[in-house]
C-alpha cells in the first residue's frame, strides 16, 4: 500500500502533544501488572542454573548422577541437551554457547548446567549435587591487556577482521574498523593547538529492576509457549526456534510487562535453557534469574580504552580529529567499537576526521546493547577533549561547540550527509538557558556536553479493530518499554479524530500479529507510530466506504474529518455527518467488522541529538561529587506524549550520571566479579540526584508523517562528559577514567596539588 510517510506540518493537533495518564498505570501502581515472573502454569517446575565460578576453565566432566537421583528433580540439562543446530551462523552459535557453556566456561557466571525441580529448595539442592570437574585456564578481563601479545587467547577461531594483510595467528582482537574523511595529517598541520589524551571507562550494567524471567512449556508434538520479559518477543521467538529446532509458527511467545530493559532484554539468556528444560521434563518450567546472575551473566556494556587527538585553529575551528577506541565485547565478538567510531564525532562538522575501532574479547559476560550502546564512552573521550581544546584556544566550551557544530548538509563521519538535524538548536537553547547564567559557589563547577545516537526503523506490523460501540483496539507488536502504548493510542486517536480514551492499545503475542522487530534503536515510537498512522488511515478508508453504503452514495463523495464521515458534493451536502460510533454500530450490516492494518519496513529514521548542562559540587577533601543541577535539551522531532519524552530524557541522564560517578564492574585478580548486587554496584538512589530539568525541541523528521524522532537513547550519551567537564571546571582536574568515583577524583586532586 502506497502510504505517504512524508512529514506534513499539522499545526493543530488535538491529541498528540498533550499529556495523558499511562494506560498501564493502574495495573502498575496496584501491583496487578504481570511481569516475567508473574505467570504460572499447572504442574510447573522451578528452573535454576549452575554457573561457573571460574573466569576461564575447561569443563572436563559434569556428573549429574547424584542430582538426578534427588527426589523432586525432573530434568537436568547441559550443553548436550542443546545440540548445535546453528549451521554456519557463527553469531547464532555464539548465542547458544553463551546460554550454556560447551566444554569451556568463558567467564565467571557462564551457565554450565540447569535443573528443573518441583520446588526452589530441591532445585537449589540439586545444583549443589552436580559435580563439575574444571581445569582452570589463564584469563584476561581488561581490554588493553587482552590485546597484548602475551594475553591468553580465548577463541582459536578469532582472526582479526579488517586488517591487511590478514593475520595468520588467532588473537583476542575480533575486528578493526576505520571510518572518517579528509586528511587528518594535513588537518593537524593546520592546527594552532593540538590536544592528545587517553581515557578509560569501566563496564556498567543496564540495571533494570526486573531480573530476566520466563515460563516455558514445550510439548512432545513440537508446539511450545514462552511467557517472557523481553524487548522483542518476535525476535526471541525466531532465535529460540532456531536454537531448539522448533517451527516458528508453533512457538507462541507472549511478552510480559517489562521492568526495564535498556537493551539488555534484546538478547536471549535463560529462555532457550528454560525451553530445553521443559522439553526434557515435559512440564512447564519457570526460570527467574537472581540479581547476582543478572550481573554476572547478562547485559553489561563494554569497558573501553580510548585515545583522542584533536587540533584547532585559534578561532576555534577544529581542523582534525582522530579517535582510536578499544571496546571489549565480553567472551564473544561484537561490533561495539564500530558503533563508537560511528558516533564519536557525529555532532560536529570536522573536515578531517578518522575513527579507528578495535573489538576485543575478554573473559567477561557477553556484552549487550545498553541505551545508545558504545556512544557514551566515545562521547566521554571526545567531549572531554573538546573542553580541553576550548581551554587552550581560549574560547568558551559552548561557543567552541557551536563553532564546529554539524548542520543539514554536513557530511557525517560515518558516511551519510545529514538532513535536517537538531544539534545546533540544542546548543543554542543551552546557551540561552537560565541554567547557564546561574551563579556557582565555592567548589562548584559547570560542564556542557553533546551527544548523538541513531534511530532505526525496521519491520513493524499493526492492527486496528473498531468495536461496535466505536471504541478502538490498537494491536501492536513492538513491546511497550517506555510508554509506547499511550503514544500509539494518541496517534490512532489523532488520525481517527476521536478522544484518546476511546482507544485501547495492547501488545499482541507472536501468534496474533506479523513480525515486529525489537523495541531497540529508539525505533518504537518512530516505526510503530508510522504503522499506526497507516493502519488508522486504512481504517478510515473502510469507515468512508461504510458511510457511503449507509447513505447510499458513492465513496468519492465521502471525506473524513474530526472523527466523522461527511458527505460532500452538491447533491449530498445536506446529509448529516456520520460519526465513527454511528458507523461502527451498523458495521454488522454494512460488511462486517471494521479494521485497519499495516505492515511496513519503516525507512527514514531520524537522528537524535542532545546537549546537557551539569553543575557539580566536589568535596575537595573526599573527592565526592554531588550533582546540584542538571538540564537536558534534546530534539524529539515531535513529542507525542511530552511526559514520556521528558521521562526518557531524565532516565537516560540519570543512568549516565550513575555511570559517571559510581557504577562499575569490579573484577578481582581471579577474574571473578566482586560486586554482583545493587549494594556494591552503585546506581544512583533518588536522594543522590536533583530534579533533572528538561527542554524538548522539535525539529521534525521529514520522513515521518508526524515528524517523530526516537528519543529513548540519546540522553545517556552526554552525561559522562558533562559531569567530567563540570568536575574539571570545579577543581581544575581533568578526569580521564570513568566512573569518576571519590577515590579517583581525590587521587587526581592530590596529583594536581603535588604537581603545583
Amino acid at each position: 500500500m502506497g502510504h505517504d510517510q512524508k512529514y506534513v506540518d499539522k499545526k493543530n493537533y488535538e491529541v498528540v502533544g498533550t499529556r495523558f495518564n499511562r494506560p498501564d498505570g493502574i495495573d502498575k501502581v496496584t501491583g496487578k501488572a504481570r511481569y516475567g515472573a508473574d505467570a504460572s502454569a499447572p504442574g510447573q517446575l522451578v528452573g535454576r542454573v549452575l554457573r561457573s565460578p571460574h573466569a576461564h576453565a575447561s569443563i572436563l566432566k559434569i556428573n549429574v548422577g547424584k542430582a538426578e537421583k534427588l527426589p523432586g528433580v525432573k530434568a537436568i540439562i547441559t550443553s548436550a541437551d542443546l545440540p548445535d543446530l546453528t549451521g554456519q551462523d557463527q553469531g547464532l552459535a555464539d548465542i547458544l554457547e553463551n546460554c550454556m557453556a560447551r566444554g569451556r566456561a568463558l567467564y565467571d557466571g557462564h551457565a554450565v548446567a540447569a535443573v528443573a525441580a518441583v520446588d526452589e529448595q530441591t532445585a537449589a539442592k540439586a545444583l549443589k549435587l552436580i559435580d563439575v570437574k574444571y581445569k582452570k585456564l589463564p584469563h584476561v578481563t581488561d581490554v588493553d591487556a587482552a590485546m597484548c601479545e602475551s594475553a591468553p587467547v580465548i577463541h582459536d577461531r578469532i582472526i582479526t577482521r579488517g586488517v591487511e594483510p590478514k593475520p595468520t595467528k588467532p588473537s583476542n582482537i575480533a575486528a578493526r574498523t576505520q571510518m572518517g574523511h579528509g586528511d587528518v595529517e594535513a588537518g593537524f598541520a593546520e592546527a594552532d593547538v593540538v590536544i592528545e589524551k587517553s581515557y578509560k571507562t569501566e563496564q556498567t550494567h543496564q540495571g533494570y529492576i526486573e531480573p530476566h524471567a520466563c515460563l516455558a512449556s514445550v510439548n512432545p508434538d513440537g508446539t511450545a509457549e514462552l511467557w517472557v520479559t523481553t524487548q522483542g518477543h518476535f525476535v526471541f521467538r525466531n532465535v529460540c526456534a532456531s536454537l531448539l529446532g522448533l517451527d516458528i509458527a508453533k512457538l507462541k511467545v507472549t511478552s510480559s510487562e517489562i521492568g526495564g530493559g535498556f537493551g539488555g532484554k534484546t538478547h536471549v539468556w535463560v529462555e532457550p535453557v528454560a525451553l530445553a528444560l521443559s522439553r526434557k521434563a515435559n512440564r512447564p518450567v519457570k526460570l527467574v534469574m537472581g540479581r547476582d546472575e543478572v550481573f554476572r551473566a547478562t547485559g553489561p556494556t563494554s569497558s573501553t580504552s580510548i585515545d583522542v587527538k584533536m587540533g584547532a585553529k585559534k578561532d576555534g575551528t577544529i581542523t582534525a580529529a582522530v579517535a582510536e577506541m578499544r571496546y571489549q565485547g565480553g567472551a564473544f565478538p561484537g561490533n561495539w567499537a564500530m558503533l563508537g567510531c560511528m558516533t564519536a564525532f557525529a555532532c560536529y562538522d570536522i573536515k578531517n576526521n578518522q575513527s579507528i575501532g578495535w573489538d576485543v574479547v575478554v573473559n567477561r559476560p557477553k556484552v549487550a546493547a545498553y541505551r545508545a550502546p558504545s556512544a557514551p564512552m566515545a562521547a566521554f573521550a571526545v567531549e572531554s577533549t573538546i573542553d580541553e581544546l576550548a581551554k587552550e584556544v581560549g574560547i568558551a566550551p559552548i561557543d567552541m561547540r557551536l563553532k564546529n557544530v554539524a548542520r543539514e548538509g554536513t557530511l557525517a563521519p560515518y558516511g551519510p550527509t545529514y538532513g535536517p538535524i537538531g544539534i545546533e538548536h540544542t546548543l543554542k537553547a543551552v546557551k540561552d538557558h537560565p541554567h547557564m547564567r546561574a551563579k556557582l559557589k565555592k567548589n562548584q563547577g559547570r560542564g556542557v556536553a553533546c551527544g548523538f545516537w541513531f534511530n532505526i526503523g525496521g519491520q513493524t506490523c499493526t492492527d486496528l479493530n473498531i468495536g461496535v460501540d466505536g471504541t478502538v483496539n490498537l494491536t501492536l507488536g513492538t513491546v511497550d518499554v517506555g510508554g509506547s502504548r499511550s503514544s500509539m493510542a494518541m496517534i490512532a486517536a489523532e488520525e481517527l479524530g476521536i478522544p484518546y480514551e476511546q482507544v485501547r492499545a495492547n501488545i499482541a503475542d507472536t501468534t496474533s500479529l506479523g513480525h515486529n522487530d525489537m523495541t531497540e534503536g529508539s525505533r518504537g515510537t518512530f516505526s510503530s507510530g508510522m504503522a499506526t498512522v497507516f493502519a488508522a488511515r486504512d481504517a478510515i478508508g473502510v469507515l468512508k466506504q461504510r458511510a457511503a453504503k449507509m447513505w447510499g452514495i458513492t465513496e468519492e463523495h465521502v471525506i473524513w474529518e474530526n472523527g466523522q464521515a461527511i458527505a460532500t458534493g452538491d447533491s449530498h451536502g445536506n446529509l448529516p455527518p456520520l460519526s465513527l460510533k454511528e458507523i461502527a454500530a451498523k458495521s454488522g450490516r454494512t460488511g462486517g467488522p471494521i479494521a485497519g492494518h499495516n505492515e511496513v519496513v519503516a525507512d527514514g529514521a531520524g537522528m537524535g541529538f542532545a546537549s546537557h548542562i551539569c553543575d557539580v559540587e566536589v568535596d575537595p577533601e573526599t573527592g565526592r561529587s554531588t550533582i546540584i543541577r542538571y538540564t537536558v535539551v534534546q530534539d524529539a522531532g515531535k513529542a507525542i506524549n511530552p511526559d514520556y519524552v521528558e521521562g526518557q530524557f531524565q532516565g537516560g541522564a540519570t543512568q549516565g550520571i550513575g555511570w559517571a560517578l559510581n557504577e562499575e564492574y569490579i573484577y578481582g585478580d581471579d577474574g571473578r566479579l566482586q560486586n554482583p548486587g545493587f549494594l556494591d554496584y552503585r546506581i544512583p538512589v533518588c536522594s543522590d540526584l536533583p530534579f533533572i530539568d528538561t527542554q524538548i525541541l522539535e525539529v521534525p523528521n521529514p520522513l515521518h508523517p508526524y515528524g517523530i524522532r526516537g528519543v529513548g537513547e540519546t540522553s545517556i550519551v552526554p552525561p559522562l562528559a558533562a559531569v567530567g567537564n563540570a568536575i574539571a571546571n570545579a577543581t581544575g582536574v581533568r578526569m580521564s577514567h570513568a566512573p569518576m568515583s571519590p577515590p579517583r577524583v581525590l587521587a587526581a586532586i592530590d596529583a594536581l596539588e603535588y604537581a603545583s
Partner: protein, 286 residues
C-alpha cells in the same frame, strides 16, 4: 528448619545452647533473611526473640537508657529522650538501610552481625554503651567494644543472647556525633565511619572518646585521637593531630568499597568534621 518463639531471653538462650544443628537468632532479620536468601546460611533452628516481653522497648531511668534487642531503628529515631542525650548514636542507627529496613533493623543485630562497617557500633562505643548478655545460666555485661572479635565473630559463647544495650545518661556538656563516608547519599555501606563523643568544661574538651568503623577488622577505639582533643577548643592544630591519630589507627583492606589509601585519608577528614559537630553539641563554640 524449625522456628521458635521463646518468652524470655533465658529461654532463648536455653534453646540455642541445646540446639545441635545451626541455630540463628531472629530479631529484625535484616541480615539473617538476606543470608538465607543468598544461601549463605542454612539454619536448622531460627529463634525469634520478638515475643519476649519488653524486648521491643526503650527504658529510661536515672542511670540512662536500656534499649531492648528488638527495638528498631525507627523507634530509636522517634525517641525524644534518646535523641537529646545521644544524637550521634541515633543518627548512626538511623543511617542503616532504607525506611523499610529502619522499621526492622536493631542495634543488637547490627552489633552481632559483626561487620567491620556497622554504622551503629562506633557510635555505641563512643557513647560508652554496654551489651547486656544473657546465657542459659548467668548474665553478664560487656562494653560494646569488647563484643566484636573480628569480621562475623563475637565474644558470645554458644547459647548466649544479647538482651539489650545499656547507655549511660550523658554527663553535663557532652556531645556526640557520627559521620560515615559513602559514595551515595543512602542505602550504602560505610567506607569509613567515625564516632566521637566529647565532654566539655569551660569550653574546653575535658574527656573524649573516638571510635572508627570500616577501617579495620573491628571498630577501633583510638585513644591517641581522644588525647589530641582533650584540653583543646578544637583549634586547627588539635584537629590535625586528631586526623593524624585516626589515620594512623587505620588498618583497612583494599576492596570493592575503598582502597587502603583512601580509607586512611578520609578517616582523618571525617574525624575533624565529626569532632566539630560533637563539640558544638556539647555547647562548645568554634
Amino acid at each position: 528448619m524449625r522456628y521458635a518463639t521463646p518468652a524470655s531471653a533465658k529461654e532463648a538462650a536455653g534453646m540455642l545452647s541445646k540446639e545441635r544443628g545451626a541455630a540463628f537468632l531472629l530479631a529484625g532479620g535484616t541480615d539473617l533473611l538476606v543470608k538465607l536468601k543468598m544461601g549463605m546460611v542454612e539454619p536448622d533452628l531460627v529463634v525469634d526473640i520478638k515475643r519476649i516481653p519488653k524486648i521491643d522497648q526503650i527504658q529510661t531511668s536515672a542511670k540512662g537508657f536500656v534499649i531492648g534487642a528488638a527495638v528498631s531503628g525507627s523507634m530509636i529515631g522517634q525517641h525524644k529522650g534518646l535523641k537529646a542525650a545521644w544524637p550521634g548514636l541515633v543518627e548512626a542507627a538511623n543511617l542503616i538501610g532504607s525506611d523499610q529496613i529502619q522499621g526492622r533493623a536493631t542495634l543488637v543485630g547490627n552489633l552481632c552481625n559483626a561487620s567491620p562497617a556497622a554504622d551503629s557500633v562506633p557510635a555505641m562505643i563512643a557513647a560508652g554503651a554496654k551489651a547486656i548478655i544473657v546465657g542459659p545460666q548467668k548474665r553478664r555485661t560487656v562494653p560494646v567494644e569488647k563484643v566484636v572479635l573480628g569480621p562475623g565473630k563475637t565474644c558470645l559463647s554458644k547459647g548466649e543472647v544479647i538482651e539489650a544495650i545499656s547507655l549511660p545518661k550523658p554527663e553535663a556538656r557532652t556531645g556526640d556525633a557520627y559521620l560515615r563516608f559513602i559514595p551515595r547519599t543512602e542505602m550504602d555501606i560505610a567506607v569509613v565511619g567515625v564516632a566521637i563523643s566529647l565532654k566539655l568544661e569551660r569550653g574546653v574538651a575535658k574527656k573524649a572518646k573516638v571510635a572508627l568503623g570500616a577501617v579495620a577488622p573491628t571498630a577501633v577505639v583510638v585513644p591517641g585521637a581522644a588525647r589530641a582533643l582533650v584540653g583543646s577548643k578544637l583549634d586547627e592544630a588539635a584537629l590535625e593531630k586528631l586526623a593524624a591519630a585516626c589515620s594512623a589507627a587505620c588498618n583497612p583492606i583494599d576492596d570493592k568499597r575503598g582502597t587502603v589509601e583512601y580509607r586512611t585519608r578520609v578517616a582523618g577528614v571525617l574525624a575533624k568534621r565529626a569532632a566539630k559537630i560533637a563539640f558544638q553539641r556539647a555547647g562548645g563554640v568554634l
